[in-house]
């Protein structure tokens, strides 16, 4: 049985746009490849895919995806993506960015997108350094990291993104590593399927300005890729000790582990999205006013001012 013509499969070829301008060896290539593979699997209509980013190396992402996209200003990808998500429930909205964009200049927006539980997926390619501006300290640079703005070593305590995300109220929080493509794909897929604000922190190495920083999480470089053992709910005694993704305190404990820590889904819990709550308000309001036209509504309001 042949499929109808319009259900032509969306392929990586269709989704590929400009060749990335990232440096050879950059972890972000793998993130892009994993994203394409997940989209190939999920088969969303091509025109409904929308990628949004701010400023930074990883924020160039939308240029490399052939889909509707926005390359916005530094730190504000999430507010713009929120506008798209709230007003266009038909779209699949993705925001991409780095640690500077997401945790420093845009840090406040991340807390509020999380609190509001806006329905979109946000992927942070965290490289612990400012790469596009050529090696300044980033909010996730560990203390002691020598950069052009901290020539004798970074002195400020870095942000712990996982703690920030769990505490901020993101309803899906996961962590993965750009060298672990299969893991990355599975986490991306779960993030995309999650209704609400889903965030994936990807350790993605900057081979030019911070080479080797993530080797501790990469088995091929002698590190350990320690995957979270999630509860399966089979009632077995060993399941007792496994991680419950709906337990915020347990997620916070995972986030407190010594670097390189664990990888996988830290937290996942469904609560009403801002999209749903606003739509409920719109629906109940519209129900009250019935099928009044714009002119009717305005007239009624003017009448109350007479």
């Amino acid at each position: 049985m042949s499929a109808p013509a319009e259900t032509k499969k969306l392929t990586k070829k269709d989704l590929t746009a400009d060749h990335p301008t990232w440096c050879p060896g950059c972890g972000d290539f793998a993130v892009l490849a994993a994203f394409f593979k997940v989209l190939e699997k999920l088969q969303f209509p091509h025109e409904k895919i929308c990628t949004i980013a701010g400023i930074g190396c990883s924020s160039r992402f939308p240029y490399f995806v052939n889909g509707h996209g926005v390359h916005f200003i530094h730190g504000r990808a999430l507010p713009l993506a929120t506008g798209v998500s709230l007003s266009r429930p038909d779209l699949h909205v993705f925001a991409f960015g780095g640690d500077g964009d997401g945790y420093s200049i845009g840090g406040n927006h991340l807390d509020h997108a999380a609190r509001k539980n806006v329905n979109l997926t946000y992927v942070v390619m965290d490289n612990f350094v400012y790469g596009l501006t050529k090696k300044q300290t980033s909010p996730t640079s560990p203390t002691g990291f020598k950069s052009k703005t901290d020539p004798t070593g970074a002195i400020d305590q870095p942000i712990n993104p996982m703690k920030k995300l769990v505490y901020g109220g993101a309803s899906f929080v996961a962590r993965t590593h750009a060298t672990q493509v299969k893991h990355m794909m599975s986490v991306f897929e779960r993030a995309i399927q999650h209704p609400g604000f889903s965030v994936v922190e990807v350790l993605s190495e900057c081979v030019v300005f911070y080479p080797g920083i993530f080797d501790d999480g990469n088995p091929r470089k002698g590190g350990e890729f320690d995957i979270i053992d999630e509860k399966v709910g089979d009632g077995s005694p060993e399941d007792e000790g496994r991680h419950d993704v709906t337990d915020g305190n347990a997620a916070y404990e995972l986030a407190s582990l010594q670097y390189p820590g664990k990888f996988g889904v830290f937290y996942q819990n469904e609560r009403p999205t801002k999209n749903q709550l606003e739509q409920q308000w719109i629906d109940s309001t519209k129900e009250k006013v019935g099928d009044a036209s714009t002119a009717d509504l305005l007239s009624a309001r003017f009448a109350s001012m007479k």
Partner: protein, 605 residues
Amino acid sequence: MSVSATSGASETSESPSNIPEGVTELQDAVIRFAGNSQDGIQTIGGFLARLAGRSAREVMTYMTIPSTISGGASIFQVHLGSGEVLSAGDESDFLFAFYQDSYNNHISSLKEGGICIYDSDHVEEIQKIPGIVHVAIPITSTTVEAIGGSSRDRGKNIFVLGLVTQLFSLNRDKLITLVEKQFGRKSEDVLRNAMLAFDAGYAYPIGDLLGREFDLKEGAAKGEDKVTTDGNTAMTMGLLAGGVRYGSGYPITPWSTIMEQLRSELPKYGGLFVQAEDELSAVSMALGFAYSGHTSVTGSSGPGLSLKMEALSYATMAELPIVVINVQRGGPSTGLPTSVEQSDLMQAIYGSHGDSPRIVIAPKNVEDCFYVGVEACQLAREYSCPVLVLTDQALATRIEAFSQPDLEKIVVEPVLDQDARGEDFKPYPIDGLTKHAPPGTEMEGGKYPVVTGLEHDEWGHPSGNPDVHAKMNARRRDKVKAFGETLSLPEVYGDESGEVLIVGWGSTWGPIRESVNRLRDAGRKVGTFHLRHINPMPNGLETIFEKFDHVVVVEMNDEGLYGNGQLATLLRSRYCDPKIVSVCKTDGLTYKVREIIERIDGVIA
């Protein structure tokens, strides 16, 4: 107070007994209520303005609000008239003083022959001013007594409303309907107390104390109840009529009441207004709505507009349509949050980095806030660029009456254009206006657009090519310029040629027009035009300038380092005409007519 016919006698005695008895007919009256903000004096003013709108009277109000959370000295001034009312009035005919300090601070606002009614429970020292009539009424204790011995004096504003109703022979039935409409929504108790206070005020023998009553004449036009509201409400209505369905903002005085109303109103239209975590998020979210294919709005007041500037430059570069309302207040910095100023003009036009042309328009009065709101939406859609609307604190809060707009003709139903785009789709055609393909649009050529803040070519591809940057800068400038070419010359009011041409923009329209009337009455040859479109301006203003000896630009901003206000600087820059001079001020208050007239004579001398 212009008095018609009945009384020609002198009213300079401070003793009520010397005033001619009977009913005095008034053409117009300026009534000032001075008290504290929690006394609800705005409520009295609001009722009187609403009544005027129902009685074929013109009305304009003026109020000061303290920027404190609760309390603080506050005034509300109502100018009611049967003719054209263009300003809130320089001086008042009647003063209602609730406290000693309100008395002390406002007694000088009375005209000669003015009447001061004060609360003798609070005001103890009266100044002996020749020509001012004093009437002592124990407003607080009488109100408390009327409502039933409660120690609360909450109803004294409504008591005074009753007093005013009787004093000016206002239409009691209409007022009661309005009072019932407002307080009936709350609870029966609240309404009952309000009516008790109103009746006590209405029954108070103020006519006996004064020895006369007044009859505020109704205007000529009958039959139409006017819309009576403030500028922020009119602006909100204009945005809704213009097709705004989505927006985002952050609270700041005096912008907040627009966002509050949009938040409540938009769901009725299937739309949404989101309170963002900060100004940067608000403008970014609004751009997200715009990118998604909607007519979108954000807004703020001075400091908040500064915070939005980076994103507005992006909107110019990416050619996204967005309406930005800026309710100006006194600056710089936190400045005077509840006072008026027109000092954001340069910020509105030039406030962003890079060459970022955009459209800037300004409403002249409350009614115009509606029409400017509608126009801003149309312009944003047509030219796909930011449209900044400069209103101000005075317009935002003052109440005027105007005819209901012809909604059937004006209303724009927004359309989300997702028609498939062909292979030749160019978001930025060098010879045409931008029409984006919002997300969700099928691209028949298989290539999807990325909207960017990087310089880009016609297809939207980033480009660092020097020629491309020069060409695209010109493109973004020329489309705004092209809009300027569609504008007709502003109408000149008063003399078409002569001694002085007064040029204004924004909320100074009323006082400037009244100044022209008074100067012409005094035999001077004076005209005025008011700029609604400030960036771009209409072409050919020089043909008006050349017909006058002097061009005086009246603005509420500082004269700057070189003696010119912000619009005057722009006009001088464009026309290189030293005849253009400035009248400026930054005292946080609206212009008085007398002030304009005196200052003009100062600068042209």
